[in-house]
Amino acid sequence: MLLEVEDLSVNYGVIQAVKGVSFKVNEGEIVSLIGANGAGKTTILKTISGLMKPSGGKIVYEGHEIQKQKSQKIVAGGISQVPEGRRIFAGLTVLENLQMGAFLRKDRDGLKKDYQEVFERFPVLRERKNQDAATLSGGEQQMLAMGRALTAKPKLLLMDEPSMGLAPIFINEIFDIIQAIKQQGTTVLLIEQNASKALAIADRGYVLATGNILMTGTGQELLANEDVQKAYLGG
């Protein structure tokens, strides 16, 4: 098991956003957390990557508890994040963005090869290598955010709503890329409102509502589930 979240609670002031959530991510899986706005999805991701501190529970990564570690240490341990709303460094060039993704890496020689890999996966980024990231379209920015997270060579990639605000054609491409990333051996924890797509590519999924996990199963099971269809798939 790569990541195990046990009875995790997170508060914003007096409001409890996450109320005792538990789930697991095995090595090599795509796991999707789906749920409506305000279900606590993003909060869970931020807590895993160390940007927020939990009020209770444990996060175990590769056998170590990481819930009290600083984000720098968590990133160095191999957890990388594609944040919600992309959050690229607009005033830096595309290449500089990728270099920031590799900020904590020590192996300078492997880096060049990895930039090439990112450029092969996202050819448009190679074309725009020396442009300011602000000049990219929304879909390209999402690709840059993913490329940036990949240059950190993560074992576990956390993705927060990669399809948000994108044209349908880009959404399909993004989900194809997520599958390709898994094929290469990177584990993915995906958070999405686009439940049908997120469940279709997931090995397992969890349905979240108001800070609790309602349901769990394989991606296909959840897709076929009537309640899930009614609540999240518009069925």
Binding site: S71, Q72, P83, R87, I88, F89, G91, E96, F103
Partner: protein, 320 residues
């Protein structure tokens, strides 16, 4: 590293050529003593403003306390050169001033850089005021009267050398991995943190380097003007430096150079207009800001690298 060496050597060559050209012009008589005075003041302003541009333009933290760090450098260097009146003393004075200033910046930076925007501006302004008031009340700094008879050690070659040194250090810092980290904090603090960047550390580092640069500018100021008093380092001085940064373009070192030169020359030309000078000077600033709000050069940067790239590209085209 090798690549950077090439660009740095090119810059060094440009700087040497610049020095020779200016000296030649002086020799021929195109630049007189008055012109040299202006150039020294422009040079000192460049040093002060590049440091502030690192803080404001590249790390994205607003500071209104630059004059405070300038004052530290001025006083430390003035005190040292008053007992060791040699170029060696000047060197020791600048290094000591920069060190003290960096230390103070470190101490105040760690708590204040957690603030942002207006709050940070007020906090840094307060720090500068505290420094000024301390200088106003210490025996060793001679209180409100200040220090005088400081030896004239900041001659034109020294100022020119220091402009080159501080600019090279800052530009290399900006183009390094550290500089990228600093800029990523400016662009998006949360994303930067999630890349594993310790955001506070890099903000403080940029602030400390900027403060050390301000101290060097202050040291040169003291040993050129030869008298300093706490009133020289009030909020107006911080604002004067800020004007250079904003006018040149926040985030453009080239812009800082151009703005410092333009303002220096403007000041010189307007000297004949008496009190009307300040009105014209302010009017020029207002007009510039109205018609070019991003500053003279925006974020554009003169880059030897791009020049090289363009050159090799056109050569390739010529070959084909």
């Amino acid at each position: 590293m090798k690549k950077n060496l090439k660009y740095n050597l090119t810059w060094l060559a440009i700087m040497v050529v610049g020095y020779v050209v200016i000296n030649l012009l002086e020799f021929v008589g195109v630049i007189d003593q008055f012109g040299e005075n202006t150039m020294v003041l422009i040079g000192i302003n460049i040093i002060l403003a590049t440091g502030l541009n690192l803080i404001i333009g590249f790390s994205g933290q607003f500071s209104l306390g630059h004059a405070g760090f300038m004052a530290i450098g001025a006083y430390v260097c003035a005190l040292i050169t008053s007992s060791i009146s040699t170029p060696m003393g000047m060197a020791i004075g600048m290094i000591a001033g920069a060190a003290v200033s960096a230390l103070v910046a470190l101490i105040v930076g760690i708590p204040t850089l957690r603030l942002d925007g207006d709050y940070l501006a007020i906090a840094t302004m307060g720090v500068a005021e505290i420094i000024r008031i301390i200088l106003n009340n210490l025996k060793i700094t001679n209180g409100p009267a200040g220090l005088y008879n400081i030896p004239l050690l900041a001659t034109w070659p020294v100022v020119y050398l220091m402009v080159c040194v501080t600019t090279l250090i800052i530009v290399n810092f900006i183009h390094s991995r550290d500089g990228r980290a600093v800029m990523s904090v400016r662009e998006n603090e949360i994303a930067s943190e999630s890349m594993g960047v310790n955001t506070t550390k890099w903000k403080v580092l940029a602030f400390v380097i900027g403060a050390a640069t301000a101290a060097i500018g202050g040291a040169l100021h003291a040993n050129y003007i030869q008298t300093i008093a706490p009133t020289d380092f009030g909020i107006m001085e911080s604002i004067n430096i800020l004007i250079i940064v904003v006018l040149g373009g926040i985030g453009s070192i080239t812009g800082t150079f151009v703005a410092a030169a333009v303002l220096g020359l403007l000041d010189m030309i307007l000297q004949n207009f008496g009190t009307l000078r300040m009105v014209l000077y302010s009017l020029a600033l207002i007009l510039l800001m109205v018609f070019k709000p991003s500053g003279l050069l925006g974020t554009w940067e003169f880059s030897v690298r791009n020049l090289f790239n363009r050159f090799t590209k056109s050569k390739q085209k010529g070959d084909a």
